[in-house]
């Protein structure tokens, strides 16, 4: 694939922007061109937040994701809002701990990951976002596990590096959930 385009969306506070940044760093560490674009605004905090990431072999002209190869939907409204942006055959990853509705698209590959539950099981519900990331990494070979770990080291402030093992666990848990075929 010449370029890989992802949208990550959820409530503010779910670590949505961070997941995007990790993706971007991972892409960069793999020698690719990357572009990360956050939603920004004066909307209610705790409202929705989203970002898009492009990881590309070549120079990135338009940094906007018009048709996404993958969508990470962390909650219901996100699914509703961004489902139409997925390309045919794209990846739809839903955090089923928060998303209750069903996807409407039938022409995409859908996966449900009970990310919060899996994170809770690891003892920290805040790594639900990393669980989702793990699931994506499992599905999309463009991202090596190593580059993601390296990216996390980059993104996490030094003083939180003791959390890296936990995050590694979360990544794995996400990957596992796919392997176990929780696919919808």
């Amino acid at each position: 694939m010449e370029a890989f385009r992802v949208i990550v969306s959820g409530f503010g506070g779910q670590g949505v922007l961070l997941v995007g940044q990790i993706l971007a760093y991972a892409g960069m560490f793999s020698g690719k061109h990357v572009a990360w674009i956050p939603s920004y605004g004066a909307e209610m905090r705790g409202g929705t937040a989203n970002c898009s990431v492009i990881i590309s072999e070549g120079e990135i002209s338009s940094p906007l994701v018009e048709k996404a190869d993958a969508l990470l939907a962390f909650n219901g409204p996100s699914l509703e809002k961004f489902e139409p942006s997925l390309r045919e055959g794209g990846l739809l990853l839903m955090n089923t701990s928060m998303v209750t509705g069903e996807p409407r698209r039938r022409d995409v590959r859908s996966f449900g990951i009970p990310a919060n539950d899996l994170a809770d099981r690891l003892g920290n519900s805040r790594v639900a976002n990393i669980v989702m990331l793990g699931a994506l990494a499992e599905l999309e070979p463009v991202l090596s596990f190593e580059s993601i770990m390296e990216a996390m080291r980059m993104v996490l402030p030094e003083r939180h590096h003791h959390l890296l093992p936990l995050n590694q666990e979360a990544l794995k848990a996400g990957a596992e959930s796919i392997k176990e075929g929780v696919g919808v």
Binding site: A42, M44, R45, G46
Partner: protein, 252 residues
């Protein structure tokens, strides 16, 4: 059964966009209740400049004007001079009123313009994501004072009521807070008084209301109320700084 508390008429049905626990919501309600009470007292016009409350025009069930950042007192002057019998108020944040709009508020006060200012002091720039405000406390961390406000570099917080109280012109100046039920009731009284002063054409009235910003303070809503009480109150003593009768009470 008697309805004790319900949505005032002067608010629309639109849900606030404010963050959970943000006291902008309480203050909106108080202002709306007081305007409800004015009843025949007034067709009213509200003016909200830029700040988290920029969307006030969606919430107040009144003729509303969205104004440029800091300039609401000038806009209100233009409105009130054209509609002298209409109740006019501005709703301004601390960045808005005390930074970019300082000149406009002081001169409106000096002229004794007959409108009411609702001044929401939350010691931070809420809307733009938590930068230092003129009212930010010494040591308080913000996104542009990451090590806490250093008064040597960024100066000292401004005390607006104290500043205005030195001048002739303002008729009513009061500082209140909304960190507890008792204080909310007092705040309501101050707002009532301010609008009353306007209705009687006694001149410029301003109520400074200490308010929270849980999101940018990085505290949950309850801790925010506590922080307000513990940190802000000592710097910003509550009380009336000017009344038309002259019975100021610096520590109400």
């Amino acid at each position: 059964m008697k309805v004790i508390a319900k949505r005032p008429e002067s608010l629309t049905q639109q849900a606030f966009h404010y963050c959970p626990g943000c006291t902008h919501g309480i203050i909106h309600r108080l202002v709306a209740e007081v305007i409800d009470e004015l009843g025949e007292g007034g067709p009213a016009v509200g003016i909200a400049p830029v700040g988290c409350s920029v969307l006030a025009y969606e919430y107040f069930n009144l003729d509303m004007i969205q104004a440029s950042h800091g300039r609401a007192p000038a806009v209100a002057t233009g409105v009130k001079r054209a509609l002298p019998d209409c109740i006019v108020f501005t709703y301004q944040g601390d960045g808005d009123l005390a930074a970019i709009g300082l000149s406009e508020i002081v001169h409106a006060a000096l002229r004794g313009e007959n409108f009411t200012v609702i001044f929401v002091n939350n010691a931070i720039y809420g809307m733009t994501g938590g930068q230092i405000a003129p009212t930010t406390l010494p040591g308080q961390k913000t996104t542009t004072s990451p090590l806490g406000r250093d008064t040597v570099l960024s100066g000292n917080p401004i005390k607006v009521c104290e500043l205005l109280a030195t001048q002739e012109g303002p008729a009513y100046l009061s500082r209140v807070s909304v960190h507890s039920p008792a204080q909310v009731r007092r705040a309501r009284k101050a707002i009532q008084k301010a609008f009353e002063v306007q209705r009687k054409k006694q001149g410029f009235s301003l109520v400074e209301i200490l308010s929270t910003c849980p999101t940018n303070w990085g505290l949950d809503p309850l801790k925010s109320l506590e922080w307000l009480e513990k940190e802000m109150l000592p710097r910003y003593p509550l009380g009336e700084f000017r009344t038309p009768g002259g019975e100021e009470n610096g520590s109400l």
